[in-house]
Symmetry: C2
Subunit: 247 residues, 2 copies
């Protein structure tokens, strides 16, 4: 805010994009909007609104009509599907910069629920489609992000189809750590914004198994459990090797 006022005072010919919320958005270099020029960003911002949610609150539910797409600005989200008898599979965790809304144009096939206090950029699908038409750079970026998501989904399919409980948790910690490093976190340390149950439902395990493997890893010195849901990773290479199935 101070910077904004200073800019206005010092430069009467200030461009609008300099004072737009996008200018200070921490998610911009990571989001769909990463490659947009100033005036393109403005087009896009006009079609967007900021939404927030508290932990446990859903952005939308499985089966709901699905008129929006989102880009996560701050916080974390879990996506999950339920089977009729209550079994739950978390299909992904989203963090700063992640896009939500590819596919499933009719009704939503999963629930999106905030893990932490959340802030996200929301667009009506129709508006977003018009943006894609008008801004080739946006669509290019979306294709690239879709490719990355597809790769991540394949990785998860391998994990769920063929890895042991220990390998799954090692992979999980390695990937989460890498993601947090990318977002500016410290190396050799991970924060877990989700519960053991969330981890279990993401990795196709039970909460008891997750807990037991954490204990094993702690005992063997692969991890240390710190307060505040922090985990220290004293030997990231060993953890990665284990997660990759290198016996």
């Amino acid at each position: 805010m101070t910077a904004r006022n200073a800019a206005l005072a010092e430069a009467p010919d200030v461009r609008l994009e300099d004072v737009h919320p996008c200018a200070t958005c921490g998610a911009r270099p990571l989001g769909v909007c990463a490659d947009l020029k100033g005036h393109e960003l403005q087009n896009m911002a006009c079609a967007s609104e900021t939404v927030t949610a508290q932990p446990g609150q859903a952005l939308f539910h499985e089966g709901d009509p699905n008129p929006y797409v989102f880009n996560v600005v701050e916080g974390a989200v879990k996506l999950y599907r339920l089977l009729p008898d209550g079994r739950r599979q978390i299909t992904g965790f989203l963090f700063q910069g992640d896009f939500l809304g590819l596919g499933g144009r009719g009704t939503s096939s999963f629930t999106a629920e905030a893990l932490t206090p959340l802030s996200a950029c929301r667009f009506r699908r129709g508006d977003f489609d018009r943006l894609l038409d008008a801004l080739p750079a946006l669509e290019h970026r979306l294709v690239a992000m879709a490719g990355d998501e597809l790769m991540a989904a394949q990785e998860q399919i391998v994990l769920l189809g063929r890895k042991t409980a220990r390998e799954r948790i090692a992979s999980f910690l390695t990937r989460l750590s890498a993601r947090q490093v990318q977002l500016g976190g410290a190396e050799g340390r991970v924060h877990l914004p989700m519960t053991r149950l969330d981890i279990a439902d993401y990795l196709g395990l039970t909460i008891e198994t997750v807990s037991r493997v954490f204990t094993q890893f702690k005992t063997s010195g692969l991890i240390r459990l710190l307060p505040d849901n922090e985990v220290a990773l004293p030997d990231p290479e060993a953890l990665k090797a284990l997660g990759d199935g290198a016996a």
Copy 2:
């Protein structure tokens, strides 16, 4: 060739797209090129070449440099990753119209291997990127297809994370049947172009479990095994309900 010559003879003002191989391509209404106009299709065809492969032959291997993207014209492909100790996970089966090459621009993260005699349309990545730039309809279609793939991947994640062996196989047969109906196959009947081992490695099971469940289903009248790897589905609704986890 005969048709082509006839067309040339009868219509001196024939448009080039009428004689192009795309004109008779069975995969066109399903592929990335589905929404292209005649002259756009020509642009695209210029950058493409047709490749073929025999069953068991790989289009590329996991770890290889990955300079091409493909669109399946005819036949079936399996995609798989190997863990260091030989465990295999098939991450997908591709059929007529399916696109191959989103994501993984550097080295390929999986092997793509023909299940049947295969014909595919191949583009250099650089050429394809230029096409995406020049043909917005192509990129739109690619985004839509990427969304569909992502939904399918999520479905598979739920299957692998939370479904029983019986549910996995019921889902598999239901999905494969739906796909074959879409490609013009008969309802209530599925052709299995892959082996039991392929099915097992796709569903995160063993070959023995797959075989046992097939036997169970056969005994309970849910399926009938016919010659030539055909399976009759006398009660598709029951099979679908089982696959959806409706106990």
